[in-house]
Symmetry: C2
Subunit: 324 residues, 2 copies
């Protein structure tokens, strides 16, 4: 099967989005969307750097790659609609394995009604998958990291550290662990972007949002920097899954603060909007937890403070704390 | 310099496009464009497959990669506005060389007023550059391969075979040749996408367009297939540069039919619109040549016929001819 046949084989027979004028099959794709802003991002995943055959089947690689991009759209409060795939394929990969990668992408694309509208398939020495995602958001409702203000409630969705626990189990665990902790393994392989929740917040004028791809320590600091505020987070309020407590305190701490790849959201809203966020969380079946508050401390702005046993320490992007 | 510092170093200080709401610096970029359709494509370039340090300086690699994408926009009759870059960097590449790649992209981006709005920089074993380009076109004015009809004039812009000649000279030529044929070398390294010409055709209701990235034999057949017509091309009307005649007849033939990477346009319009196309060509300082005509021959539709010395032979995508 050559490149053209392969592209033909993954081309959709029917498109889900009515705004699409031209999908795969010309020099470019064409779509129409009036009265909304367009949102786009690209993410690139390299074998043995971002994922490994040791912890992922080809299906999971495809699923997770696209999940990460959809999560970027959730972090923008945006409805993902289209994606384009560029893939560099080493000759060791079989056609069957490639199809499994596309099946993984297709599986999550169907859940979120995404259309594959373009792509490029080339050969190379190392598997590289680059995904461009395009979505739409009501005008002036894109959710930026720079929108946190003094007095805001800081919240996160879901539980943190799950994906890192799953990765640990797949890398070092035994078969018993795999069965017992299947939840964590699924969280590593097939994360859930929080589109329903973030899109349902659109009535709010202001929400700062960021998705947790590198660990909350990193993402909280990104909000602090972009908004020029101080993020204050209580360590004991960071939500973790019940079974995470089976692991050592050090592991729990490392995974929940800097494990990353949970693809949950961290956000801030004004205190008066907090009850509404809880309502939306309930209606979209999303666990949401308040973990702290935003302050304006001249010499701490741009930083995150982790509060433990009543003592606040500066939390670095890597997850390391030190007294300021 | 780590990934974040590098992204910061290539981030634009000012954006050119007024529709841009958010460039690099959040989970995704946001732009607004009303009353036009959005057009997007992705292209991926791998070192030693699509380009080589032997024939390109890093600056040229960046320039040419983006030129190829802009050419896709020309082939859609579309105004390119934004691009996103994903780059996989092997550790052998120096920071200086990477900056030269970005300078090459920046140079052509400035010519066409494109803004870099997103990107991802990761490490890997082989240099891979993936570009997503986004542009705009008036509603229902995107130019498809499928729009050729019986009786149309077939035209091409510029001259064909130049880039292949340049590649040949850089790969096998001596220093004397380099100076004498600098034109061809530039055409290989810094091709000119035909945006001005294709955008100026927007008054026309119907133009079929395709850009010549793999050779006219391939691109003519793509139009024939998509439009279910027969493309008839006179070999002696295919425009070549005067200096190409210094090379053997076999080289001229191979390069002009299937050399590729000239990034000229092949198109078809109705005979009544042909004088208007010539006017637009003159006003945009673009060489345009009529090379044949479209017919509707039941058993030849989907194919291209190359006419030489009054005899028509079927022209394969690869540039090979045989009697039908």
């Amino acid at each position: 099967m050559n490149e053209f046949e392969f592209i033909k084989s993954i081309q959709q027979r029917n498109y889900k989005r009515s705004g699409l004028r031209k999908g795969i099959g010309d020099d470019a794709a064409v779509f129409r969307q009036s009265y909304q802003d367009t949102v786009t991002a690209v993410d690139t995943f390299v074998e043995n750097i971002h994922f490994s055959r040791k912890t992922m089947e080809p299906f999971h690689i495809g699923y997770r790659v696209l999940a990460a991009n959809i999560s970027d759209m959730a972090a923008m409060g945006c409805d993902p609609a289209y994606y384009l795939i560029s893939i560099v394929i080493p000759k060791e990969w079989t056609e069957q394995e490639l199809h499994e990668i596309y099946q993984g992408m297709n599986d999550i694309a169907n859940q979120y009604k995404l259309d594959l509208i373009g792509g490029d398939t080339v050969s190379g020495s190392q598997l590289v998958i680059s995904v461009t995602i395009i979505g739409f958001v009501d005008q002036n409702k894109a959710r930026y990291r720079s929108d946190a203000v003094d007095g805001d409630v800081i919240f996160v969705t879901g539980t943190l550290g799950d994906a890192a626990a799953g990765f640990h189990l797949l890398s070092e665990g035994n078969n018993n662990d795999m069965d017992k902790y299947n939840y964590f393994i699924q969280r590593h392989r097939m994360p859930t972007p929080r589109i329903a929740f973030s899109n349902a917040l659109k009535e709010l004028n202001r929400v700062a949002l960021n998705d947790i791809s590198d660990g909350i320590a990193n993402e909280a600091n990104e909000i602090a920097e972009a908004s020029h505020v101080t993020m204050n987070i209580h360590y004991d309020r960071i939500p973790i899954h019940q079974s995470l407590k089976d692991f050592s305190a050090e592991q729990q701490r490392a995974w929940s603060l800097s494990g990353g790849e949970d693809f949950e959201l961290i956000g801030t809203v004004s205190e008066k909007d907090w009850p509404y966020v809880l309502e939306i969380a309930a209606s979209t079946n999303t666990k949401v937890t308040s973990i702290g508050y935003v302050t304006n401390h001249q010499n701490l702005n741009g930083h995150t403070i982790l509060i433990e046993n009543g003592i606040g320490k500066q939390l670095n992007k890597s997850g390391y704390t030190h007294l300021k």
